[in-house]
């Protein structure tokens, strides 16, 4: 038994996470959250370093078209698309993993087939900012996250699809979290979502390689 724990510990302790560095905000907040969890990570735009990591986090706050052109200029889009290890997109990161965004009519990476849409509902204010609940939580997310609140700030959303693993309602029900193969994604900010956010990050970090 002791040996099993030792192996688990060893695996966890040797895990290296790469946080992709590019021209987006919020990378610092994600780094601080990983620091608080005691995770060994590196913030990098180096292709080999990203490809070598056990897990990859693709954070993001910003505008879709300028971010996509930055990623293309640095060939980071190709690197992200072809990753085989568990990879987590956060907020704009999740949206850029989709095929297309209505934000300045931007072609994105196409890891998920969905199109990112603008909230166009008269009854709600845009951006959607604040704490909202996770519904129908499944797949890779800790089941205790059902009905828990997480922090959102966004004007565009990903509609529900077969890749949706958690939903949130804001005038319309949209994808709060997604998964396809080794690609994981959340629309909210786990790094800003107090204890619920810690659970989300741990759910991802515990994914087998």
């Amino acid at each position: 038994m002791a040996q099993v724990y030792f192996l688990l510990l060893k695996e966890h302790c040797n895990m290296k996470v790469a946080v992709i560095k590019y021209n987006a905000g919020n990378i610092r907040s994600v780094s601080f959250a990983l620091e608080r969890l005691g995770v060994d990570f590196v913030v990098t735009s180096n292709h080999e370093e990203i490809q070598r990591a056990d897990k990859v986090i693709f954070p993001g706050v910003g505008e879709a078209s300028s971010t996509m052109s930055y990623l293309r200029d640095h060939r980071l889009d190709e690197v992200i698309k072809t990753l085989n290890q568990p990879t987590l997109g956060i907020c704009l990161g999740m949206q850029l993993m989709c095929s297309h965004s209505e934000e300045n009519n931007t072609a994105c990476m196409g890891i998920f087939e969905e199109t990112v849409r603008l909230f166009k509902i008269d009854t709600v204010k845009v951006p959607h900012v604040g704490w909202n609940a996770l519904e129908k939580v499944g797949n890779w997310l800790d089941p205790s996250l059902k009905d828990r609140y997480v922090y959102f700030v966004h004007s565009y959303y990903v509609p529900l699809s077969s890749n949706t693993v958690a939903e949130t309602n804001y005038g319309i029900t949209f994808s709060a979290a997604m998964r396809r193969k080794n690609f994981f994604a959340v629309q909210f900010h786990p790094e800003k979502s107090a204890e619920s956010g810690v659970k989300v990050l741990n759910s991802f970090l515990q994914q087998p390689a």
């Binding site: 905000g25 505008e63 704490w131």
Partner: protein, 250 residues
């Protein structure tokens, strides 16, 4: 459902919280990180740190404080005070702030709102407006509420939205510090006028004031300072009260 937010505001001078507190069990209530972390543990939804330092020398400590806050606090926070340009904002966001609030500088140069929104995105920009009723008109004041301007609250808020502000933080100077409730009528009007969220500030004195500001003032968030600092209304108690009254609260 999106919940209504309770926001605690901390005034900072030379890296320390300004107003006293009566958290007897808190080792250092003058330390913004310690106090902010306490509020986060108590369930506050957001924090605002306003640098009220008078000199550039004092202000220098602010960016490193922001980094310290981001390191230790896992809920969203806004920073403001003395921001005049895109150049002032970059180090604050780089240090880990989620939003910045601008006030006087935006009144003097409204283009600043557009510049900041273009550079960092609207979700980063909170337009803070201090106003009081003057000759039956809600008049905008700058410089900590000392200087009246030509701007009127409603048209200025609308202009702020059009120029790219992501949220409006409205402080009624007539209500601030009175502890007799928020300025319900102008808040209600702002809410109907704007498509961006409105944060109500000034006047919180009891739990009922928060219920009123959400139900009648239609505010998206409510901010208070001293009643939290002096623990007159403990945050968990406030949130329970609002939940019991069917307000969507985290």
């Amino acid at each position: 459902m999106l919940t209504k937010r309770i926001i605690a505001c901390l005034d900072i001078k030379n890296g320390r919280t300004v107003k006293g507190t009566n958290f007897v069990d808190l080792r250092d209530a003058g330390d913004p990180v310690t106090l902010g972390a306490l509020y986060a543990t108590q369930g506050v939804d957001e924090l605002i740190f306003l640098d009220i330092s008078a000199t550039q020398e004092e202000r220098k400590t602010f960016a490193s404080l922001v980094e310290d806050i981001a390191k230790h606090i896992n809920i969203p926070f806004t920073v403001g005070g003395g921001i005049r340009s895109v150049k002032d904002v970059a180090p604050l966001l780089e240090a880990g702030a989620d939003k910045v609030s601008i006030n006087s500088a935006a009144v003097h140069d409204p283009n600043l709102i557009e510049e900041l929104a273009k550079e960092f995105g609207s979700q980063f920009i909170v337009l803070a407006i201090d106003a009081r009723k003057l000759d039956n008109q809600w008049t905008v004041y700058t410089h900590g509420g000392t200087q009246p301007t030509q701007h009127k609250l409603f048209s200025w808020a609308k202009e702020g939205q059009q120029r790219g502000a992501g949220e409006i933080l409205f402080t009624s100077m007539d209500h601030d510090g009175m502890k007799s409730g928020f300025a319900i009528d102008p808040l209600r009007k702002l809410n109907h006028l704007l498509k961006i969220p409105v944060i109500a500030s000034g006047g919180a004195g009891k739990k009922e004031d928060f219920l009123e500001v959400f139900l009648l003032g239609c505010a998206d968030a409510a901010l208070a300072a001293s009643i939290f600092h002096f623990n007159e209304i403990p945050i968990p108690e406030l949130k329970k009260y609002l939940k019991d009254h069917h307000i969507p609260i985290r």
